[in-house]
């Protein structure tokens, strides 16, 4: 316990600025949630005021609003680190007229993920494993020099990481984590690199009082973010309803297969290829995100694995909750709630999986 105590620091919220500057001094590009005009995006920041520190994201099924308020609580937006590491659309190689394959040069500079959320980090962990042999992803991932996580003292309207165990705090995989307790910030160090950085910025060890407040806040946040039954209970229930067609027809009755859920999900990784050519003999292959809710997904020569939408919706949910576990040993859903917020129909995954628990087939 005392060793862990030594790993907690505190400082004013302004010290986040020092942290950003210290990272930039190392020649690193700092990437975070920020505003572009009035739009919340993820991209390069250079100072504390670039961060969405005075904004609150108000999320509910099918709706997202941003409110400006001093000491706001910002969770996330439509974008996630997936947008930075696993590009939505990219030419992955060209084929010259003498059939030489030329890999596309990737100019992703050494970077820092700053202020991403615990669920984002859990999603990166999933992508790291799923895309283990994807050299495009891995090359970019290797250029992430630091990960600085903001723990959540107040979950958003669609968050349920507490039930999955992927938030609102982090346990590993980060260099520095911080939590905002009013004007004070509690810092947690997760690596040697992180420790060096903290020393440079001049943080002081956290007082018992700050630590107590931190633990209280995080416990409360965990309770609030536990909006569905515990993950293992959900998994068992979904195993039971996996072949109950009626359940899935009902769950997907309002779904229009638009794939917004796939696109915004920080762990959805599927892609499709499109080949292009010009008549000079040059050809190129483009890779782009592709969602399992779309019709063509699951279509193969002459047949279709999941011709009806309820089958594809079922696949989405079972993949997240059952199959990722078998693929990579981690839950595929990190409970971020993006698929709920950004679903134009407002279909609530929490409701669907909660209903599976105790479902009696008709």
């Amino acid at each position: 316990m005392s060793r862990m105590l030594g790993e907690y620091f505190e400082g004013s919220v302004l010290l986040l600025e020092n942290l950003i500057l210290a990272l930039k001094e190392q020649g690193l590009r700092v990437l975070s949630y920020k505003l572009e005009g009035d739009l919340p995006v993820i991209g390069e920041v250079s100072r504390l005021s670039d961060l969405l520190i005075d904004y609150t994201d108000i999320q509910s099924p099918g709706s997202y609003r941003l409110a400006k308020e001093v000491k706001g609580v910002f969770r996330h937006t439509q974008y996630s680190p997936k947008h930075l590491l696993h590009y939505p659309t990219q030419v992955i190689y060209e084929i010259s007229d003498d059939f030489e394959i030329i890999r596309t040069k990737d100019d992703f500079p050494p970077s820092v993920l700053f202020g991403i959320k615990p669920c984002d980090l859990a999603a990166i962990e999933v992508l790291d494993k799923v895309l283990e042999r994807d050299d495009v992803y891995q090359a970019r991932r290797a250029r992430i020099e630091y990960i600085v996580v903001e723990e959540c003292v107040e979950p958003g309207g669609t968050c349920f990481c507490g039930s999955i165990g992927t938030g609102p705090a982090v346990a590993k995989g980060y260099d520095i984590a911080y939590a905002r307790l009013g004007d004070q910030v509690l810092f947690k160090v997760g690596s040697e690199k992180g420790l060096k950085l903290v020393e440079k910025v001049g943080l002081t060890p956290a007082s018992d009082e700050t630590l107590r407040r931190y633990n209280e806040a995080l416990n409360e946040a965990r309770r609030k973010a536990s909006r569905i039954p515990p993950f293992n209970v959900v998994v068992r229930a979904l195993e039971d309803v996996a072949v109950a067609e009626g359940f899935w027809r009902e769950a997907s009755a309002r779904c229009v297969g638009c794939t917004n859920c796939n696109m915004v999900c920080p762990t959805c990784f599927c892609t499709e290829f499109s080949d292009y050519a010009d008549l000079s003999g040059k050809a190129w292959r483009e890779r782009h995100w592709f969602g399992c809710l779309s019709f063509t997904y699951g279509q193969v020569a002459g047949q279709h694995f999941r011709p009806e939408l309820f089958m594809r919706y079922r696949h989405f949910v079972l993949h997240k909750f059952l199959f990722y576990q078998r693929q990579v040993g981690l839950p595929g859903c990190v409970g971020c709630g993006r698929c709920i917020t950004w679903c134009p129909m407002g279909i609530d995954l929490r409701e669907v999986v909660s209903r599976a628990v105790g479902y009696v087939g008709r």
């Binding site: 739009l39 919340p40 009755a253 229009v256 995100w289 779309s294």
Partner: protein
Amino acid sequence: MRKLSVSVLKLTSCSGCLNEVLYSLVARAELLRYLNISYFTELQDSNAIEDVDVAIVEGSIVNSEQEELVKQVREKSRVLIALGTCAVFGGVQSLRAGEDLRTVVLASYPNPDHIKVLPEVKSVDSVVNVDYRFSGCPANGEALARFLVKLVMGGSESPIVESLCSECKRKGILCVTVFDGKPCLGPITLSGCGALCPSFRRGCYGCYGLNALIVDREKLEEFSKVVERLGMSREDFMAMLKAFSYSSLTKSSSSR
């Protein structure tokens, strides 16, 4: 690579799609060298419909002459492409379907006797088999040009059926429905336009046509409630559907 013989047929439409295709072809002189255009009402005088590799059909069918013409062209072509929302779904002229024909004709033409139209508006594939569809009002000329390159090279393309939202999200556009509360038809509309309207922070009005492989009547009803709640009147919604997805509304689509 070999030269492709092409015939281009224009039925009831505004020529906007063909213009888009012409822009794309003019920018690709190298592709034009591989196309032997044997019939194109707007470019040539020839009225003879010959055997061709590729027939491109713009427009919908509103009278029996057009129906005959399309059937002839189908028989004489190896590959038939329906170009634009008129050809694929019926197009804006479908707005008159169900109305009194004489009233409609008189609204635009002083002498209605010259106008030969049937009460129905038909998409090309309700009359003949269509091999490839490039919907859009206007269609994406670049997409067709890229496809023609593949045909010239002896290749082909498998169509990807997805909603506009897929394309919109890949472009990184913040959703106008969820973020701005604006009604947008993207979720039920086929992709292909590059999410043009959402990129200007406006809702899609469905000009690429309904994603009818998924959206059946019940889903359409559910979706209409969402856009209505966001301020689009039912009348406007139905008008957009009729204008850009007519043929798929008249088909009784099965639940996907």
